[in-house]
Symmetry: C2
Amino acid sequence: MDFEQADALNQAIRLLSLRHRARAAALLAPLGLHPGQEALLLELARTGPAIQSQLSEALGCEPPSVTLMTRKLEAGGHIRRRPAPSDRRASIVELTDSGRALADQVKHLWCALAEETVAGLPAETVAELPGILTTLTGNVDTRRSRRLQGDSAV
Amino acid sequence: MDFEQADALNQAIRLLSLRHRARAAALLAPLGLHPGQEALLLELARTGPAIQSQLSEALGCEPPSVTLMTRKLEAGGHIRRRPAPSDRRASIVELTDSGRALADQVKHLWCALAEETVAGLPAETVAELPGILTTLTGNVDTRRSRRLQGDSAV
DNA sequence: ACAGATCAGTTATGCGCATAACTATTATCC
DNA sequence: GGATAATAGTTATGCGCATAACTGATCTGT
């Protein structure tokens, strides 16, 4: 691949990151959320209570980030933490009623954002887009390869 | 669009952002660069000396970010700043010899990253990917709409 | 020609996410 | 069963990028 094409692709990904995040921030701000927090709420809404290491895995971010996210959402009254009965190291995180209501609002925003994002693209392209993006992500996912290395090393 | 699809898309964009940036960071680290700085070097390599507001526009980030980026790259000896002769407010930013050499290295990394990113995708998909991503970016670009509003208001 | 608006750039501050280093608990293996 | 390794989580710190508020220079309109 020549540099022109490579740069077009890398730059496009970089700009999409910045703009999509900025747009998400603008939409989430009225709910009192910052981007990143919505992912935690949606994950809890999807799978129910979870410990932080599971959230870290699901959200694709590191444990210290989860610590901060949970702390802020807890301060906002949207989630609750309680000790895990079977493991005194772990905390179980779950939605409060307020958090569930907030998650529902986020879902609507999320649909609006997705529709806004793919406006003007043929339906066929839109349909295959998540798969393409997931492939790209997998190709550069040092987290996954790190974990596989760890697994195989055992 | 239902929530499942919307979430798949938004989540895919979010994860791609995190992972692509992380991978870029890993590749750039040996050169002593942090992600974001490479874009400035490449822009200067592409278009020659420019003032910071042009860089801000080209990189899609805000002026304070450019201030910090230029300061760090200047401290590293990769760029140089001199006052613009025709406008005493502006600084002209340009590559040093070291910066030009570094930009060439970055170009190679950039090609490698792009190839790694699109591995396993059909060539046809790869060819239209930059266009698709640019469309997505345009759809959520609050910067552009902000600027257009400003223009039309005059 | 001069007052007011616009523009280039900086400083201060805040958020998200990362890594490194640490504590406390649990699992493993001789 | 007791040393050792692995795991859950936290704190400290640093980077990128954002907004808000500011200074100084340039442009505009009357």
